[in-house]
């Protein structure tokens, strides 16, 4: 149906792909491809020796400018078949898809065409994804097969929205050094006809099954050719279907090793070309989501808007209960107890790995029960090593429950102001406050986190003498801002209403931008820290607001500061214990 010289020729190699090739060709057809007309391109399938080669008539309904040729001298390596295809290409721009099992995303051909226009000697490279839950050479060993893949494809209606292929293809195979690192190959590569000729096509010396490292070699030679520029297309990609492919599905490491061996023999060295690249979009929303996951492993950038949640009362209660469990690491106590059992040992007993780690209730039952009790009561603060907890907070279930009550009450009663904690450690109490804030639908209040994010200061006032909790002695109390911020992101609670005040209280609190507070939680341990926070912030607590002191019962220095401050200000609102150490009062 060609009506003239196409702009783009695309070479596709097939070998025993009765299941995969029809999908691939559909994905390359004008019924699916967007932004490019049927006459703009031709697809040339070179079959490299299939028992039952594909037939042109089977694809007549795709309405595409399609040729299918059977390579007369098929070899295990597709390299000669590719070069045969290159000799048939009629367009000035030529792409090669070395593996006909790779589906295209809907804007791929148009994006490649437009990317090629950005530079006279553009080497247009594309990202390669693998369908299924992970790298296929691993997942097939775990049961991933054609049936599984067919089921996955059926669930996303990819023929009508090919960008949904990103949803089922989290693994990108050719960007092993990260999204913006060099590609080790490009499974669809597009260049001007003249550049293909200058390179002499693929090197027929690569005789390994599947071509070995011929594709990587082609890319490296293209990028090292004088004057070329790599343009990588983002937001589109090819998606590998599982098949008997030599490389992608190879369970044996020897296939990779032998390919490398052949490459080293032919080229004398192995190098990834990491020159400056251009990137070409546009990026679909689905692809952007895939990038976001890959770039940050789920670490979302804070949004400007408050991240409110809508939940039924029952869901709210269960969410907060589960959140507290996670903050206290109640779900990971077995691991903590197992690790505790190794303390002081110079060698890990072999039974630890084979037995104890997987049967903590059976082997370390008493220690586990004790740990559960200590965690619930918030006794971690008292233990010899305060950093021993691997949770996000050491304050125990009861103080978390009480903090929920404080915040909820302040919100219900309309007490004006923000929420704040001074001394946040890993952020657990703040995470809970932010979750409650989001559940309430509030979009105006800030949550303030004041901390040095580098541990406590050494004692500087007479009242604190002997209480040195500084980083030098207790490195586990020093948690960086990045880690706390990351925790907020991990819990889906990071937005612009989460405000950080990094630095020692003496330097940050007096002049900070906090205007009004509904809940002020102090967890600074020391006399000095507690007094500095009260002096700087108490007057900003609204009437009816809560002042929560974490260490009132546990640390005499802290209690001394609170009592001295209350006495100096004539505060008569009763101070009430929450548990063995936490205390609070409401501002009248």
């Amino acid at each position: 149906m060609s009506t003239g010289r196409p702009e783009l020729s695309l070479i596709v190699i097939s070998y025993e792909m009765a299941r995969e090739l029809p999908r691939t060709l559909y994905s390359l057809s004008p019924r699916y491809q967007q932004g490019i007309a049927a006459d703009d391109y031709e697809v040339i399938v070179i079959d490299n020796g299939s028992t039952h080669p594909p037939r042109l008539e089977d694809f007549a309904d795709l309405g595409m400018n399609l040729q299918i040729h059977c390579f007369p001298d098929p070899k295990p390596s597709p390299v000669r078949a590719i070069n045969h295809g290159l000799s048939l290409a009629a367009a000035p721009l030529v792409g090669v898809n070395i593996d006909g099992a790779r589906l295209a995303s809907p804007g791929l051909l148009d994006a490649c065409r437009r990317a090629a226009r950005t530079d006279a000697d553009a080497v247009v490279t594309t990202l390669s994804f693998q369908l299924g839950p992970g790298p296929q050479w691993i997942t097939i060993q775990q049961g991933y097969d054609a049936v599984w893949e067919d089921r996955l494809l059926d669930t996303i209606d990819w023929r009508n929205n090919g960008y949904r292929l990103f949803e089922i293809s989290p693994f990108a195979e050719n960007i092993t050094r990260g999204w913006f690192g060099p590609l080790n190959e490009s499974n669809l590569i597009v260049m001007q006809q003249g550049l293909w000729q200058a390179l002499g096509g693929f090197d027929p010396a690569f005789e390994s099954p599947g071509g070995g490292a011929a594709n990587s070699d082609l890319l490296r030679r293209a990028l090292e050719h004088p004057g070329t520029r790599q343009v990588t297309v983002l937001g589109e990609g090819v998606f590998h279907q599982i098949h008997g492919g030599t490389h992608t599905n190879a369970a044996s490491l020897d296939v990779y090793k032998n390919a490398a061996r052949e490459y080293y023999r032919l080229r004398g060295r192995i190098r990834v070309v990491d020159a400056e690249r251009s990137y070409f979009g546009p990026v679909s929303r689905a692809a952007a989501e895939a990038y976001r996951r890959q770039l940050a492993a789920g670490h979302a950038a804070p949004s400007e808007a408050a991240t409110v949640m809508r939940a039924s009362p029952d869901a709210r209660s269960r969410y907060l209960s589960l959140l507290k469990s996670v903050l206290l690491n109640e779900t990971g106590l077995e691991t903590e107890v197992a690790l505790d059992s190794l303390r002081g040992m110079t060698q890990v007993p072999p039974a630890f790995w084979s037995d104890i780690l997987y049967d903590v209730p059976g082997k370390l039952g008493l220690a586990l029960e004790e740990k559960r009790r200590v965690r619930a009561m918030g006794f971690d603060t008292l233990s010899g090593d305060p950093g021993r907890s691997l949770g996000y907070t050491m304050i125990g279930r009861k103080r978390l429950d009480h903090l929920e009550w404080c915040v909820t009450t302040a919100l219900d009663e309309g007490v004006a102001g923000d929420l704040m904690e001074c001394g946040v450690w890993r952020g657990g109490a703040c995470l809970l406050m932010k979750a409650i804030l989001d559940l309430s639908g509030d979009q105006d209040r800030n949550l303030w986190l004041a901390d040095s994010f580098a541990g406590l200061p050494p004692p500087s006032q007479p009242e604190d003498q002997g209480l040195d909790l500084s980083r030098e002695h207790f490195p586990s109390l020093a948690v960086s801002r990045e880690r706390v911020e990351r925790a907020f992101a991990d819990f889906g609670l990071l937005d612009a209403r989460v405000r950080f005040l990094p630095g020692f209280f003496a330097d940050t609190l007096a002049g900070c931008a906090v205007e009004q507070l509904a809940v002020l939680r102090l967890d600074g341990d020391l006399y000095s820290s507690t007094m500095q926070a009260l002096e700087a912030l108490y007057d900003r607590v609204s009437p009816g607001g809560f002042i929560v002191i974490d260490d009132y019962g546990g640390l005499g220095q802290c209690a001394q500061a609170v009592d001295a401050f209350r006495a100096a200000r004539g505060i008569t609102s009763p101070i009430t214990m929450i548990d063995w150490t936490g205390a609070f009062w409401r501002k009248s």
């Binding site: 092993t176 490491l253 192995i270």
Partner: protein, 82 residues
């Protein structure tokens, strides 16, 4: 059997070329992943080393060691390196 010094020098040269770093950045006790090497690279290194020294080396040997020092020790234990 291969000479340990020759193998060490080859590994360093290979990594310098592959990773495009200076020789001073490649230390015997630096973990491969810190250098930017991944498991595929390790297998690639195995293939290249086989070709260079004309020996058979199991790819897993490269995957179970995380530094040049431990890799060499493992190769010695397996009778590949003196």
């Amino acid at each position: 059997m291969l000479k340990a010094d020759a193998v060490r020098a080859w590994i360093i040269g290979f990594l310098v070329s592959l990773l495009d770093v200076s020789e001073s950045e490649i230390k015997g006790d630096t973990r491969f992943h810190v250098m930017g090497l991944n498991s595929v690279d390790a297998v690639v290194m195995a293939g290249a080393m086989e070709e260079h020294f004309d020996v058979e080396i199991e790819a897993t040997l490269f995957l179970r060691n995380s530094t040049i020092d431990s890799l060499l020790a493992d190769m010695q234990a397996n009778g590949i390196v003196e």
